[in-house]
């Protein structure tokens, strides 16, 4: 096993091989399952592996191919892992929580259905921080996931399982979800391309909500081309999600290879003065140098309200989460605490939730409940929404000067497991570069930008205009050449 991207075939080449008959979908699927069997006991990327179902699906794809059917499917036979907060009909979906440990959804998330329609073979469900609350995949009821680059380190989170599965070559592509950086930060820690689409670009129907106004599903892949392939498959309006956009989805694959000639890249230098690792800065500067060498120009910008982004994010995200997680009451589904004869309804709620949720989730529910409570709503939630508007204005101003905004994805590379679990606040502050994209709704991508002197991946982040994922993908691809 090696995390080096070139060692593993891309999703696009797999689909091409199956289409042209060089390999069968069953062969590819079996190889993927074998890689999981040999690597996952160490990495714990997967919560559930659906090997049998996957092989059946692969066999159907091969049978279709034999009849000449379904060959135009862009992800033909591509094995994919999906984060375990995406509902899969008939397959346990836990959100890495005890409260959903045995929960089997009756329906599939729209993104799952779309992946399947595009020919992908869903091979398993990946680990995450419980309900996506965390950035290390350590807050999982099913145990921590390890980083394939250094197994003593975190793969990041909350989509750490998807990141580890792709980085270790168990699958060429995975879906994650991103509420404050949960796709981009693990992509950065694991040397992958991770894309948080524009809010509304991808349906949230069937995504177990953390913070509804911030959540987006997106691809985690080894190449920009694969990210484009996957995003094209899942993007577009969904009548089941009232917040999904009617904005047409352009051909993202066509945008690849467009290069960055003339692209104006905004760099908010003032944000990089303190608290960013030298290894990260080196990788970032190297990426900027490659872009300028390829014809882009750098523009200095300021984003004055970024300093408030993390507190604003934790006010809004926890407020929405406190309400979103109210449904886990043990009444209709999920784990329910057993009661003595003397205990009543109130005990049923308290015990079910006390036993069902982990500490980080409880911490955020309490924070969010406080933020929304009578007498504090105006001071916290409403104020946070106002700052959110100001933040959006910062970016509107910036996009008058540049076409994309570049900054490191994270202030430091992957840290050791357990290193930050005792200090939630320190872990929250790591989100400084990622949360703005969620608060503004703008698309953002993390691309690999070399390694630190310790051999750990560095991620560079690009944020673009609303619905302009194409430019981000094209720019990310330039770094791959």
């Amino acid at each position: 096993m090696t995390p080096t991207p070139s060692a593993h075939p891309s999703a696009r080449s797999i689909a091409d091989d199956i289409r042209t008959g060089r390999r069968t979908a069953v062969e590819v699927c079996a190889a993927s399952l074998a890689a999981i069997a040999s690597n996952d006991p160490r990495l714990t990327a997967f919560v559930t592996v659906t090997g049998e179902r996957a092989l059946e699906t692969a066999a159907r794809i091969d049978a279709d191919r034999a009849r000449g059917a379904g060959l135009d499917r862009p992800l033909l036979g591509v094995p994919m892992a999906v984060k375990d907060n995406l509902c899969t009909a008939g397959v346990r979906t836990t959100a890495a929580s005890r409260v959903l440990a045995d929960y089997v959804p009756p329906y599939s998330a729209t993104v799952i259905t779309r992946l399947q329609e595009a020919g992908a073979v869903v091979i398993g469900k990946t680990n995450l921080d419980e309900f996506s609350m965390g950035s290390s995949t350590e807050h999982s009821a099913l145990g921590a996931t390890r980083n394939p680059w250094d197994e003593a380190r975190t793969p990041g989170g909350s989509s750490g399982g998807s990141a580890a599965a792709v980085a270790a070559g168990m699958v060429p592509a995975a879906l994650g979800s991103d509420t404050g950086g949960s796709i981009r930060q693990p992509a950065a820690f694991c040397g992958l391309v991770g894309l948080k689409p524009t809010y509304g670009r991808v349906s949230r129907y069937g995504l177990i909500a953390f913070a509804s106004s911030l959540d987006q599903v997106g691809p985690m892949t080894r190449t920009a081309a694969d990210a484009a392939l996957v995003l094209e498959a899942i993007a577009g309006h969904d009548p089941h999600d009232a917040t999904s956009s009617h904005e047409p989805v352009p051909s993202l694959r066509a945008a690849l290879g467009r290069g960055v000639v003339g692209l104006r890249i905004g760099v908010p230098r003032t944000l990089l003065q303190d608290g960013v690792d030298q290894g990260i800065l080196n990788g970032f500067d190297a990426a900027l140098a490659r872009w300028t060498a390829a014809g882009a120009q750098l523009v200095d910008i300021t984003l004055p309200h970024t300093a408030h982004a993390v507190p604003v994010y934790y006010l809004i995200a926890t407020a929405e989460a406190s309400s979103n997680l109210s449904r886990y009451d043990g009444v209709r589904y999920g784990a329910r605490a057993s009661l003595t004869r003397e205990q009543g309804l109130r005990d049923a709620y308290m015990l079910t939730r006390a036993q069902g949720f982990g500490d980080e989730v409880k911490r955020r529910i309490m924070l969010g409940t406080y933020v929304l409570s009578h007498g504090y709503y105006e001071a916290y939630y409403l104020k946070a929404q106002q700052v959110r508007t100001l933040l959006r204005r910062d970016y509107d101003d910036a996009f008058g000067l540049c076409d994309v905004v570049a900054m490191p994805t994270t202030p430091s590379p992957a840290y050791r497991l357990g290193e930050k679990t005792d200090s939630p606040l320190q872990m929250y502050l790591e989100d400084i570069f990622t949360v703005s994209a969620n608060l503004t709704g703008l698309p953002a991508l993390s691309a690999p930008a070399g390694l630190t002197s310790d051999g750990l991946p560095v991620g560079v982040q690009l944020m673009g205009r609303m619905f302009d994922e194409a430019t981000l993908l094209a720019a990310a691809q330039v770094l791959e050449d």
């Binding site: 913070a211 009232a242 009444v331 209709r332 929304l372 709503y377």
Partner: protein, 479 residues
């Protein structure tokens, strides 16, 4: 001892007559087997999202326009957070800070004096499921849940505290219900809970401008019970104050059997609902065009129609009132009136025989098989003197049963009045001959005996004689 003035405001929850629920595609049918109209959305399954039912918005708009409200171009769905087993998501989606409509109101007339009761607002929301605490073998230990109702679209109509008597409040509720049913927004089935009323009641010494502490009487679902509950509550509060007590702000329930309200929970221990805009639902934008369409589609409302029936057909207020109890009844009347050209007769017949038959058979006007055209045919026969009103009632009954026309029935049963004097003269002669004593009495001035003779002739003709002709013949014969 001061005299007290009650102050009453109402909050009415009305189910919208949509085919499907407000945020999912499940049917809204009443009375289905428990938990058969449910889906991931209305059960609050993980990952499920609400999508607003456009028909629900149209109906809510119609209600707002009919009640004279200002529809807000932008309104916002919020989450009202609280835990209860029949509340699937742990929050109810409702409009809070920015409701669909503000203002409006209706005229309420009690004992001949009319007052305008203002509305505060109308907002849209979803209903909860139903907790079944009784009726199962293990109901002492368990509560069962039925989520069929969860997600049924509602509008909540909130009045200003403008009402000053229980009767006025009950009339307001009744008028409101009439309008909602009239415009096809609500089905009016109170027994099925499709209209529910909460009353905020307080009392204060006459002349005092500040409001007293209010109690909220929850979930009253009949006009009569509402009046009783408020009357009881007014009495209770006055009694309390008179005896040195203090009204506490609380929620009370009405026990119809005992005619009393009792305390459910006090507001002190009330929830903090932590309202905030629901991030799953975009702002509801009502474009000017949509509003104009809704306004254009609004039928003539009960008050306007009542007034028009009086001016256009010359009906007395009593008739107009009765005929506008439902839109369908008013339609029936107008169709009969225009087909017959006899509005007052049409009114009398609809209010009389038609309503009586409907009540007797417990059917709505829409199920009456006799069409307005058919009824008009009958009215014309009476008007032309072909049959008497008495015979007409029997003919109507036959029409209702058989579906045959009045002409046909009168013809086949030979019911036409006999006004031919030559046919009646033998009967008159026979009656006079049989009752010489009566004739004498009449001649001596006892006029009231005259009707007896008319009756005898009618009887001899088996009811077919035209009473006017009989009267003429008798008068002439007696001299």
């Amino acid at each position: 001892m001061p005299t007290y003035e009650p102050v009453i405001g109402l909050e009415i929850h009305a189910q919208l007559c949509t085919r499907t629920k407000i945020f999912c595609g499940c049917a809204t049918d009443f009375g289905a087997d428990p938990n058969t109209h449910i889906c991931p959305v209305c059960l609050g399954m993980p990952g499920a999202l609400p999508v607003l039912n456009s028909q629900a918005v149209d109906l809510a708009l119609r209600a707002a326009l009919a009640l004279g409200c200002d529809v807000q171009p932008r309104s916002v769905f919020a989450r009202k957070n609280y835990f209860y087993p029949d509340l699937p998501k742990g929050y109810q989606i409702s409009q809070y800070a920015e409701p669909l409509a503000l203002g409006g109101g209706i005229d309420v007339e009690v004992d001949g004096s009319s007052a305008f009761v203002r509305l505060t607002r109308i907002h849209m929301e979803e209903d909860a499921g139903k907790s079944l605490h009784e009726g199962f073998a293990d109901s002492d230990r368990k509560t069962y849940l039925d989520f069929n109702r969860a997600g049924t679209p509602l509008i909540e109509i909130v009045s200003e505290p403008d009402m000053r008597s229980a009767a006025q409040a009950a009339t307001f509720f009744e008028r409101l219900c009439q309008v909602l049913v009239w415009i096809g927004v609500n089905d009016g089935n109170m027994d099925e809970g499709s209209l529910r009323c909460d009353a905020n009641v307080s009392v204060r010494p006459v002349g005092q401008s500040t409001l007293g502490t209010k109690a909220e009487v929850k979930n009253v679902n009949s006009f009569r019970y509402l009046q009783k509950a408020i009357e009881y509550e007014i009495g209770r509060q006055i009694d309390l104050i008179e005896h040195g007590g203090r009204v506490v702000q609380e929620t009370r329930l009405f026990d119809a059997a005992q005619g009393k309200t009792y305390s459910m929970r006090s507001k002190e221990e009330a929830h903090d609902y932590r309202y905030f805009p629901d991030p799953d639902l975009p702002t509801l934008v009502v474009a000017a065009g949509r509003l104009a369409e809704a306004r254009a589609a609004l039928p003539e409302l009960p008050d306007a129609r009542r007034a028009r029936l009086m001016t256009q057909y010359g009906l007395p207020a009593y008739d107009a009132d009765l005929l506008t109890q439902s839109r369908e009844l008013a339609d029936y009347f107008e169709a009969t009136a225009s087909a017959s050209g006899l509005p007052k007769a049409a009114s009398n017949w609809v209010m009389g025989e038609v309503l009586r038959t409907m009540k007797e058979r417990a059917v709505p006007i829409t199920a009456v098989p006799t069409t307005p055209t058919a009824l008009a045919g009958l009215l014309r026969l009476v008007d032309a003197g072909t049959i008497s009103s008495t015979v007409a009632k029997d003919v109507f009954a036959t029409m209702y049963e058989s579906g045959r026309s009045a002409d046909e029935i009168v013809e086949s049963q030979g019911l036409a009045q006999v006004s031919d004097t030559s046919a009646l003269e033998p009967h008159v002669a026979a009656v006079l001959a049989a009752h010489p004593d009566v004739v004498e009495e009449i001649r001596a001035g006892k006029d009231r005996k005259f009707q007896f003779l008319v009756g005898q002739v009618m009887k001899a003709s088996r009811g077919k004689a035209d009473p006017k002709v009989v009267t003429d013949l008798l008068t002439r014969a007696i001299g």
